[in-house]
């Protein structure tokens, strides 16, 4: 092995440190027009009138459009007008769109549009949404067109209901000597990629639709635009250059629709949309909020027997990805423990909030906050070390998951080993709580994590490799480079298979749906598994072709040939062989006649044996493998003023196989940082009229330099047999246990159980003092 595990520097590194790397909004504008949305300032209301007269008078305004004539959109339920029509359902919703010659003119004109709204009572949390006399966000969700496998409850705010029914609850509760029941919640928040979303659209006279977008899902943009607007799918060409951070947020299709409608309104001229930060936070999809209830029981010696869970996912005003997010809450509804009896109801509930996109971890950090906090509370009631409780119940090969998948050594990582290692790294034995002085304590909190993906069974990934005259290769994959360096890792995988230097592989960074093979979406920590398997298949295809040409030239059987160092040679006598340069562009015999031609390898991969979930029990195989881990957060907490500092954050993750060490490390610490932000202070502050009061980076503060704790990361390597070199997902896992571990450490430090995020000093103080939270 020469390429695997090495900290290979990412292929686009030099472009990124010299300002040459191009993102969607960096391409020259030329003849472009500019779109600007008018957004709602109400959480819920009836649109009485939209006065565009003044705006129309502005010189340079080319079109102003409102929501009337457009079809409904939405990934699993078609419930969302791309531009609000008759009703406003959340603060930030697009009410009108201006297209003008310059961004400044578009913005001025947008500010002149007068929208008169009759406010309606709001649904301000998913719990409110399911209460008896809740206002309905949508009159009848059941009347909307929807995909199969979606289960809305007619004439309620419930857009989807997923059930997990495993084992026999009565017998589980009968065996439970200790039982706890707790409620947890947190409001919606946001991904905050540094690049706000941007998209351009152009419609050519022959009907071709050209989109450039900062998306994690360019192929989905193509598919959905085709479905929504009844366009021939081959006529839609979507390009995505480098993306400035996604974290799930850019996997939703929203702004592209506006750019397309804008272009449609100006005879197909190019229209560019660039989100301002405020729009990126509330108009485009955000990160879900959650209300949850957990009942958990175990025997007196700490063996889990039964759990009953209710998840109310804040679906916001439109269901879009919330359907799928609520389904994922059910799939891995517990922590990584074996529990025989599980009952879970997971609902996507409409509210008058901005609606969610996927968020790094896809419901798992959210579920883990609930379940891992509950585990600590149970341990306290049992008077047992929370680490021991987790160790005793860790899920292992042979056990079944909530969706009744029987695990094996390949499909699940090693939870006990992660716990043992984190115990050592965190010096758990020195004690969870240490008094530093009468004011300050140090406290450690633990959380165990697991994650499978729940992407559709038919999702596939493709790769193409072409050769250059000198025997080097070009690699094309539909995986979007969102910052994870997956394209570089794919090149490492290819180099390893060809036993050649990764420097001799050139990677196409831009995805173009017309020339790049499809990768469903760059999400779910599945780029390496799916893209990697496609690359390996393409490599086999190319190697077969190379050997065929060489066998003809060398008059030997193909299976006597090997490849390596850009040569094809006889296995028995490696000196006998041909340089790639003489083969990969066709071999020319001394007489002048030639065989072969440019070698082009192609491969694809589709996930194996994934099934839909049974609608009554939830049984089914959701995804290829569970990556697992154990994480500890250590805080220094001031008992007088309730402030705290995060001192250390530790992750032990079973990643199957490390493919690029520093790359993997960066994924994990970056995800941990994001998770600490989510747990510690990131949330929308929403008023009683469902308006978001802090949609900007001064009042919504992600972690800044200097606030970062010491990070300790260790990898366990239990291979996932199906994956290239055994690698498991690693892009999201670092985030999963952070909010829970932070909550556990602070609950211990403050001496009060904390149930709500974000964990601000003020909210800890309120809880401690028994005040309203």
């Amino acid at each position: 092995m020469t390429n695997i595990g090495k900290s290979v520097i990412r292929k686009e590194a030099l472009d990124k440190v010299t300002g040459r790397a191009k993102y969607t909004a960096d391409f020259p504008s030329g003849e472009m027009l500019h779109g600007k949305s008018v957004i709602s300032h109400y959480g819920h209301g009836t649109i009485k009138s939209i006065d565009v007269m003044e705006a129309k008078k502005e010189p340079g305004v080319r079109a102003i459009i409102t929501g009337k004539q457009y079809p409904l959109t939405g990934e699993e339920i078609r419930d969302r007008p791309p531009i609000a029509f008759e009703k406003i359902r959340f603060h930030g919703e697009v009410v009108a769109l201006v297209v003008a010659d310059t961004p400044a003119i578009a913005k001025r004109a947008a500010s002149l549009i007068n929208v008169v709204v009759d406010p309606l009572p709001v649904v301000n949390s998913p719990s409110e949404g399911v209460s008896k006399d809740a206002p309905l966000v949508h009159d009848n969700v059941a009347e909307y067109e929807r995909e199969e496998g979606v289960h809305p409850v007619p004439k309620t705010n419930i857009a989807n209901h997923t059930k997990i029914r495993k084992g026999d609850m009565a017998s589980g509760w009968a065996k439970s000597e200790i039982v706890i029941e707790e409620n947890f919640s947190f409001p919606p928040s946001d991904h905050i990629p540094m690049e706000t979303r941007s998209a351009t659209a152009e419609i050519r006279p022959d009907g071709k639709v050209l989109i450039t977008t900062s998306s994690q899902a360019p192929f989905m943009v193509k598919e959905l635009l085709s479905q929504y607007f009844d366009l021939e799918v081959g006529k839609i060409i979507v390009k995505t250059p480098l993306v400035g951070g996604g974290y799930g947020g850019k996997a939703s299709v929203q702004q592209e629709i506006l750019a397309y409608l804008g272009s449609l309104a100006v005879e197909g001229r190019t229209v560019r949309m660039i989100n301002e930060r405020e729009e990126d936070m509330i108009t485009s999809p955000c990160h879900m909020g959650l209300d949850a209830k957990v009942k958990l029981g175990c025997t007196a010696d700490g063996y889990l027997q039964a759990t009953e869970l209710t998840y109310l996912v804040d679906s916001g005003a439109y269901s879009d990805k919330a359907i799928h997010l609520s389904r994922a809450c059910a799939v891995d509804c517990t922590g990584p423990y074996f529990i025989e009896n599980i009952w879970c109801d997971s609902y996507a509930v409409y509210t008058n909030h901005p609606y969610p996109a996927p968020y790094r971890g896809f419901s798992h950090a959210e579920v883990h906050f609930v379940f891992e906090r509950a585990m600590d509370i149970l341990a306290r009631k049992l008077n047992m070390d929370p680490l021991e409780l987790r160790y005793k119940n860790a899920i292992k090969p042979g056990h079944t998951t909530p969706t009744q998948v029987k695990l094996n050594r390949s499909t699940v990582g090693d939870v006990p080993m992660c716990i043992e290692k984190v115990k050592q790294l965190s010096r758990w034995e020195e004690g969870q709580l240490i008094e530093l002085n009468e004011r300050t304590v140090r406290a450690k909190g633990l959380a165990c994590v697991w994650k499978n993906s729940t992407i559709p069974p038919e999702s596939s990934s493709g790769a193409i490799i072409t050769f250059n005259e000198d025997g080097t290769m070009n690699l094309m994959s539909g995986v979007v480079e969102i910052g994870t360096a997956t394209k570089t890792v794919l090149a490492q995988i290819l180099a390893e298979r060809f036993r050649m230097s990764v420097n001799d592989i050139y990677v196409k960074m831009t995805v173009d749906t017309q020339s790049t093979p499809e990768h469903w979406k760059t999400v779910a920590s599945r780029g390496t598994l799916m893209g990697g398997r496609a690359v390996l298949a393409a490599a086999e295809d190319a190697i077969r072709q190379i050997k065929e040409v060489a066998s003809c030239v060398m008059k030997v059987r193909t299976d006597d040939l090997e490849i390596g160092n850009r040569r094809v040679f006889l296995r028995e006598d490696p000196k006998e062989g041909l340089d790639f340069r003489d083969v990969v562009y066709g071999y020319t015999f001394p007489e002048g006649n030639a065989i072969g031609g440019q070698i082009i390898g192609r491969g694809n991969y589709i996930l194996r044996n994934i099934t839909y979930l049974d609608p009554e029990t939830g049984a089914g195989n959701p995804g290829p493998e569970w990556a697992v881990g154990a994480q500890v957060v250590e805080v220094e907490f001031d008992r007088r003023d309730y402030t705290y500092k995060i001192i250390k954050a530790i992750s032990v993750l079973d990643v199957g196989r490390v493919l690029n060490y520093k790359g993997a490390l960066g994924q994990v610490t970056g995800a941990m940082s994001m998770g600490l932000g989510f747990g510690g202070r990131e949330s929308f502050v929403i008023d009683d009229k469902a308006r978001v009061l802090n949609p900007q980076l001064r009042t919504y503060r992600p972690v800044h330099f200097g606030e970062h704790p010491e990070y300790i990361v260790e990898f366990i390597e239990t291979p996932h047999i199906d994956s290239p070199f055994g690698a498991r997902g690693v892009g999201e896992q670092g985030l999963l246990g952070m909010p829970a571990a932070l909550g556990n450490s602070l609950s211990l430090a403050a001496g009060v159980e904390l149930h709500h995020l974000p964990l601000l000093p003020e909210s800890i103080w309120r809880k401690k003092e028994g005040l309203n939270t």
Binding site: I9, V17, T18, Y23, I192, M194, Y247, T484, G663
Partner: protein
């Protein structure tokens, strides 16, 4: 009277004549008029630092300064920075992922190196907390800036970078 005016900005050592609106921020001028798209918009509000450039030797968020204010000043953008130690260190220490905040971060770091070559940890934090990086956990950026500061402070006795690489 036209809302546009003719100005000459000195950017990366070159005089750049340009017609701009009085209301255009320096960021808009750089990106839209001069094609210098290395400076990134992230918040247009001074909160994120992705658009940081160096103006007369000091870091400046180009979304917080008008283009017309740039006349008579020396402006350096990421495009004007080539082959510096901090750029190399960012690559070596994996101090970026998506790369969007990187030009702004590097400009801030470069200015720190020039203005505060003996910066303490506190000073480094004070400077670098004005930029947001959403991908990394900041440790890699910290390692990168400290490696450059340390190296420039021990010219007689250069520390081998090798020892810190795996």
């Amino acid at each position: 009277m036209s809302i546009f005016q003719y100005v000459v900005l000195k950017i990366n050592g070159e005089d750049r004549p340009v017609m701009i609106r009085s209301a255009d921020t320096l960021l808009e001028v750089l990106r839209n008029e001069l094609g210098l798209t290395g400076s990134k918009p992230g918040c247009l509000n001074g909160d994120c630092g992705a658009c940081t450039v160096i103006v007369d030797g000091k870091p400046m968020k180009s979304c917080l300064m008008l283009g017309v204010e740039g006349t008579g000043k020396e402006i350096t953008t990421i495009e004007g920075l080539q082959g510096t130690a901090i750029q190399q260190a960012f690559v070596e220490y994996f101090a970026f992922q998506c790369g969007y905040c990187t030009p702004g971060y590097i400009m801030n770091c470069q200015s720190l190196i020039e203005n505060e070559p003996k910066a303490t940890d506190e000073k480094i934090s004070e400077w670098l907390k004005s930029n947001i990086c959403r991908c990394t956990g900041y440790e890699e950026i910290e390692t990168a800036i400290k490696s450059v500061l340390r190296e420039s402070n021990s010219k007689d006795r250069p520390i081998s970078r090798e020892s810190e690489m795996d």
